[in-house]
Symmetry: C2
Subunit: 398 residues, 2 copies
């Protein structure tokens, strides 16, 4: 009586994973120096010493039974309060700890957010290009994911396409800014217009539409800019966050959902998240992680390397004649392939030990996602190899 | 568009939680010394210094990017191998790391196990008395939980009741040994008979029936006995484990599912668990936790206090005329109340600042669950208070 649905999923090999596995195999063959792996978004800068010291201090000085005891089902109050205060300071919000629900990273955060404000059969809209894992995340709830075609000029929102896609079945609009894979950050103007449309549609349809805002890259912004805070523009916003990228802790599984205090039923959403946890096998993230991150709540790793790498790679891509939008944040860049089929382009690149992810699974074919969370010196070598590949295979370009 | 199902669950206050909240409120009022809280099963002994040292060593000496990097979606190989080797050494099994799937504690473990071998509409059988959270755990998958009435003489299995309950819709039999709340441990004879019946029924029904064995208390056994290992008796067994109790780490969320190598489709179950994770917002437990627990895989906290406490409390209960089965393990004991309505008994006990959980939510009314993970000195005072309560309210007893 093996469950056939999950068994069938075994066939759906993630393209990202397949490519990164090939890169790993190649590293084993010829050494890491000669393999240029743009496939995986794993933070390459270490966490801050302040975080490491916080954990060591907790282990050395707290009573183990208190440190490792069960977290309350809605999370540790002091951590929730620290998150609320930090968001209030930075974004002019007015959260209290009652609006913050600690989760096991952004994946856990989205799992709770979707379930709280959809029911099976509802529609979740998102915008291409999008993180492919959104498909199982949404479909696992019984809702369906509808993808709105992209604005390819700046990877903001194609509002005409968006308005065509809206219908009374839509319960959630899922946004991700700055965006994986494009690196684009929604501007205040984009968020304002999005909010205006949704307010009108809420009235027209006579029911709430929530924005679920997936913001793991919020702190990785370039040129001194800050990401406009989506919840500031729209009351019915659930902000999903992970410290994986900002603190370089993807393996520690620590994040949260923040419920806008002005959302419908704002006061029951966090207790509902705790009920949802009981049905999906979640418990709060590690108690120690909550207590440690609380102590470094406004810190980030040194994220400047991502900006340095982005500038190098963007300039090289432009120089090589790629059509590419300059990223505003994240550690991704999303150029158009030099031939129609990005899979074919990526296949040819692999012969030069350049590993990139073709964009089909991101909801728009013809592009490539390059992740540049690598040492800058390694990236320089990768660019030399990229130049060789492009000129040899596609000829001299300008 | 708040989800009404989860909103309705807000009304279902857990009895355990309600009683422990009252105990906490009372502690704030009159001080911890005078409150005798038998309600919560939170390990009272510290984790081993070896575990603490392992974590500190990892934080001090491992490269942060490696230590805090993403765990593979099926878990860290070395941790999986350490778990397999430990189970093989201790229980004569032949797991490889391919059969071990790290999870966020037993809750995460059960969430994956149920989903892998049931489909919505299937039936999961379990035996009273049972941990009340099994209801949302099972119902969250779309399956239904059917409770087989108890064998009240020794809290083994009432096999006649079990055979009456079996039907072709049953996909899983969920066992929990040693048992929360009774403290009973299934004997080899019980497990052998259970396995025999299930093998016959698999043939009769023409489909697999899995045992999902929830074993967080496996290491807390008394009188030098060891829990017979259920997977040893029955091929289609998924063993769900948490280090919460054995290592006193409930807040760190670390456990696993072990797939019996002789189970049907044994080789695809772990990859299926990784697919299930994508749909329920799970990722592997903390990378650091996997690496730290790997180093102390055969250790436990000093669990002897639970046995000392059990003996004290069991003797006192017998002396006070309670009908009670002597626990073989866990940190619970499960006497029959001194009046028919255990809720009424528990309510009266609260007037003496004695906090116990009436058994209705465990699937059999009329009993009380007492957790004795407290300092032994505090337990001695609790027993004096219990004696006062019983003699004043129920008269002299023998």
């Amino acid at each position: 009586m093996i469950n056939e649905k999950y068994k069938a999923m075994l066939g759906e090999k993630s393209v990202i994973r397949m490519i990164s596995e090939r890169a790993a195999a190649r590293r084993a063959e010829i050494g890491a120096d000669e393999v240029f792996d743009f496939s995986i978004g794993n933070p390459s800068v270490p966490c801050t010493p302040a975080f490491t010291n916080a954990v060591i201090d907790l282990y050395e000085n707290e009573a183990p039974s208190a440190l490792h005891g069960y977290s309350p089902s809605v999370g540790i109050t002091s951590f929730r309060g620290a998150v609320a205060d930090s968001l209030n300071r930075r974004f002019g919000m007015d959260y209290t700890e009652q609006h913050i629900f600690p989760t096991s990273g952004a994946t856990g955060s989205l799992a709770h957010a979707f379930r709280a404000v959809t029911k099976p059969g509802d529609e979740v809209l998102t915008f291409a290009p999008f993180f492919p894992e959104y498909i199982p995340y949404v479909e696992g709830t019984g809702a369906t994911l509808t993808v709105v075609p992209p604005d390819t000029t700046a990877f903001q929102i194609d509002f005409e396409a968006f308005e065509r896609a809206l219908n009374p079945n839509v319960a959630v609009v899922l946004i991700n800014t700055p965006n994986n894979p494009s690196g684009a950050a929604y501007s205040a103007a984009t968020l304002e217009r999005l909010a205006g449309i949704l307010r009108d549609k809420q009235t027209e349809y006579g029911h709430d539409i929530f924005i679920v805002s997936d913001e793991p890259y919020r702190e990785i912004m370039f040129d001194g800019a800050a990401q406009a805070y989506p919840a500031k523009f729209y009351d019915n916003t659930l902000t999903c966050y992970s410290f994986s990228k900002s603190l370089s802790l993807p393996g520690e599984r620590i994040g949260y959902v923040a419920v806008n205090p002005r959302a419908t039923d704002a006061d029951v959403l966090v207790p509902m998240f705790a009920q949802i946890s009981r049905t999906i096998g979640h418990n709060c993230p590690s108690s120690t992680m909550q207590l440690a991150v609380e102590r470094v709540i406004d810190d980030t790793s040194d994220l400047s390397i991502y900006e340095a790498n982005m500038n190098l790679l963007y300039d090289a891509l432009v120089d090589l004649g790629f059509e590419v939008v300059r990223p505003s944040g994240t550690f991704y860049i999303f150029p158009k392939a030099l031939e129609e089929d990005a899979n074919e382009f990526a296949r040819k690149a692999m012969e030069y030990d350049l590993f990139m992810v073709p964009s089909d699974s991101f909801g728009m074919p013809g592009y490539l996602r390059l992740s540049y969370c690598v040492e800058t010196e390694h990236l320089r070598k990768a660019i030399v190899r990229l130049r060789q590949f492009v000129t040899e295979v596609y000829g001299e370009r300008e």
